[in-house]
């Protein structure tokens, strides 16, 4: 039996609905249709009245979730594409994220954002938005890279009393598979050493974990052992694990699919530089998408974001510094 990343998300939602009567799902096409990506397939039938179709109103969808959370429910809002979350950005950062700070009342909502690029998706169906949400105080931002984490972190997101931005990666939906669902997991806030190494640390998250692992495999053949750190959540960001890794390897390459200005890679490097400069044997490096909207054509898209190929080049360069 194998289970895909997308199926793991569905299983997590089914489990949440079954075990916690406070949970409901709200989004476009999530009901009978089962969701644009089938993340809620059959759930409306299994849990009548708790998987609700929304109009195309992201602002009102999140606002409604906030009100429902005040009444003690645990809404999961599915935004059809992360890119559309700019419409509900205000509700997320100014109303949900400030609720506990202003009112001392927790806001236990989960916003699922299908993030990241797939071939042919273009500028408005490909974005990686985690940095925007991490920037605002009051949010937890998760970026699961594995089938197991997609499952357990979504369950944890629902259980967490604060607003969680769950950045699931569309590219991983159907092609990433695992043997079975996990019974245990690292807690949120802990990064995972996806591959142990000695010569360099690649800190990354989400789909780029797999590109980075491919690079580590390749360079292992040349005698270079790369440690890959999967951040899992970018807020809170597990600085301790990153520091410990850099202490072991002395070289840091941060890889992210998002744009370069002020993203996760910038944040990791800022922390390492300010708290562990002496641990570094070379200047810290980062690799991100080009500073342009995400292009449509596969040829352009392939050159726009980091791939195993461009990460390999960056890693080799770092070894020489």
């Amino acid at each position: 039996m194998s289970i895909t990343y997308l199926e793991a998300i569905r299983e997590a939602q089914a489990k949440a609905l079954a075990e916690d009567s406070r949970v409901f799902i709200y989004g476009q096409d999530v009901g009978a249709f089962g969701g644009a990506f089938k993340a809620t397939k059959n759930l409306a039938q299994q849990f009548p009245g708790r998987v609700i179709d929304a109009p195309i109103s992201e602002d009102a969808m999140v606002g409604l979730a906030i009100g429902a959370a005040l009444e003690g429910l645990r809404p999961i809002v599915e935004i059809q594409f992360a890119d559309f979350s700019t419409i509900c950005f205000n509700q997320i950062v100014n109303q949900a994220a400030t609720m506990y700070w202003r009112m001392q009342i927790p806001c236990p909502i989960t916003i699922r954002l299908p993030c990241g690029g797939t071939s042919g998706s273009g500028p408005f169906h490909s974005q990686s938005m985690e940095a925007l949400y991490a920037h605002y105080p009051g949010l937890v931002v998760m970026t699961p890279a594995t089938v197991e984490d997609a499952f357990s972190m979504l369950l944890e997101a629902v259980a967490i009393d604060d607003p969680v931005i769950f950045c699931e990666h569309k590219f991983l939906y159907y092609h990433l598979k695992a043997e079975s669902l996990p019974r245990e997991a690292l807690p949120t806030g802990k990064a995972r050493i996806a591959r142990a190494g000695r010569d360099m640390t690649i800190v990354t998250y989400s789909a780029m974990v797999h590109e980075s692992l491919a690079v580590a495999e390749e360079l292992a053949g040349e005698g270079t052992e790369i440690e890959v750190v999967d951040l899992r959540s970018i807020k809170p960001l597990d600085t301790d694990t990153v520091m410990a890794s850099v202490a072991r390897t002395g070289r840091l390459l941060c890889v992210g699919e998002a744009w370069p200005w002020g993203g996760v890679t910038a944040e990791v490097i800022a922390r390492v530089a300010s708290e562990g400069l002496n641990l570094l044997d070379a200047p810290p490096q980062r690799l991100n998408a080009k500073d342009t909207p995400v292009p449509y054509h596969p040829n352009l898209w392939a050159a726009h974001r980091p791939t195993a190929h461009s990460i390999t080049i960056a890693a080799r360069n770092l070894l020489r510094l």
């Binding site: 409901f24 009245g49 708790r50 929304a54 109009p55 109103s57 992201e58 602002d59 009102a60 969808m61 999140v62 606002g63 409604l64 979730a65 906030i66 009100g67 429902a68 959370a69 005040l70 009444e71 003690g72 429910l73 809404p75 419409i87 205000n90 509700q91 100014n94 109303q95 994220a97 400030t98 506990y100 700070w101 202003r102 009112m103 001392q104 009342i105 927790p106 105080p137 009051g138 937890v140 967490i160 009393d161 604060d162 949120t188 806030g189 807020k235 809170p236 960001l237 600085t239 800022a270 922390r271 300010s274 708290e275």
Partner: protein, 348 residues
């Protein structure tokens, strides 16, 4: 006098009782006296940030607070002092939030009109107009899912707020779900300095109701009798399951957008028109004409309100300000997920 046109209530629906009228008047009086005092504190430099008053809108606002029941949900906006008091918000909350007391409901973290007690049914506004309406929808939908019947939710707005996408989305959402939402729009003719002609192009805002598939009501917002009747009737309609109600009260803002604004742009013809009448004075005249109370009684009430405001302000002025070193700078309920250590090292 502006008649209630386009209201779907019958003439007798929600007829007003003297006791209710007098109670409403007293809340309006208290709101006015408090706000006059806040304005004077502001001019004396005693208030940090802005002061936003509801002068001229008390009748419409108080009708909301008075018609709602305990257990209902209210998302007031900027000019709802009277409605908040009638709904049960303690006067001291307003004073504490304006004076920034850490003992107030927002604990110095937010100020002036951005206050509320959500567990007691009052949602603290944010300044992105229209954003609170969907929150009311969420409360109402959640209650429905939990099997709780009979609640109503009210969100207040000005005509300017009806221009936002958030307003549109939330009203549409409420209509689709047929929620017991009542939207009370104070059309006070100006959004800051922007007149209605630059805010909407339809002849009357109430005409939008048909477009959303909800019931609409338009009334003279200066007339407390009408306000109690129409707002009360709309709330009752919602409570009985007729779906969202859009209530438009026509009136004039009798103050600046904030006390920093002299409102010199408000046209004199509006000030001199029936729209520009002071609802508090009108209500007082109604009481005297109908002999529901006499001058000495009104004066007693006025003095009691004045005393209550004075004493509350004196009390709050003696409360110490917040201490940043005693403050718990934690932004998540899940403390273990808060990034304190690393971020503190890089900030002041």
């Amino acid at each position: 006098m502006l008649r209630s046109v386009a209201s779907q209530l019958t003439e007798n629906e929600g007829a007003v009782q003297p006791q209710a009228f007098l109670e409403a008047y007293r809340w309006m009086l208290l709101a006015r006296i408090l706000e006059d005092k806040l304005a004077s504190l502001y001019r004396g430099g005693k208030i940090h940030g802005g002061v936003y008053l509801g002068r001229g809108q008390e009748a419409l606002s108080v009708s909301v607070g008075q018609s709602l029941r305990k257990g209902d949900f209210f998302a007031p906006l900027i000019r709802d002092q009277a409605g908040r008091l009638a709904f049960g918000e303690p006067l001291v909350d307003a004073v504490r939030t304006y004076l920034g007391s850490p003992v107030g409901p927002m604990r110095s973290r937010d100020g002036n009109v951005h206050r509320g007690r959500p567990k007691e049914g009052i949602w603290p506004m944010l300044s992105h107009l229209g954003a609170t309406i969907a929150v009311v929808n969420g409360v109402l939908l959640a209650r429905r899912l939990k099997g709780i019947r009979g609640s109503v939710g009210v969100a207040s707005l000005g005509e300017g707020g009806t221009s936002t996408g958030a307003f549109h989305e939330a009203l549409n959402q409420a209509a689709i779900e047929k929620l017991p939402l009542v939207l009370v729009i104070a059309n006070n003719q100006y959004a800051y300095s922007t007149p209605c002609t630059r805010q909407y192009a339809c002849a009357n805002l109430v005409d939008r109701a048909i477009g959303y598939g909800v019931q609409g009501h338009r009334l003279d917002g200066t007339d407390l009798v009408e306000c109690l009747r129409v707002v009360g009737g709309a709330i009752q309609r919602a409570r009985e399951g007729h779906g969202p109600q859009l209530v438009i009260g026509e009136l004039l803002r009798l103050c600046g957008h904030g006390e920093h604004d002299d409102a010199g742009y408000i046209e004199s013809r509006l000030k001199q028109s029936p729209l520009g009448r002071d609802c508090l004075s009108l209500a007082k005249m109604t009481i005297l004409e109908r002999r529901w109370a006499d001058h000495p009684q009104l004066e007693t009430w006025r003095q009691a309100a004045f005393k209550q405001v004075e004493n509350t302000i004196i009390k709050v002025q003696h409360e110490p300000p917040p201490d940043p070193y005693q403050e718990d700078w934690t932004v998540l309920a899940s403390r273990h997920l808060t990034e304190m250590a690393h971020l503190e090292r890089t900030s002041s």
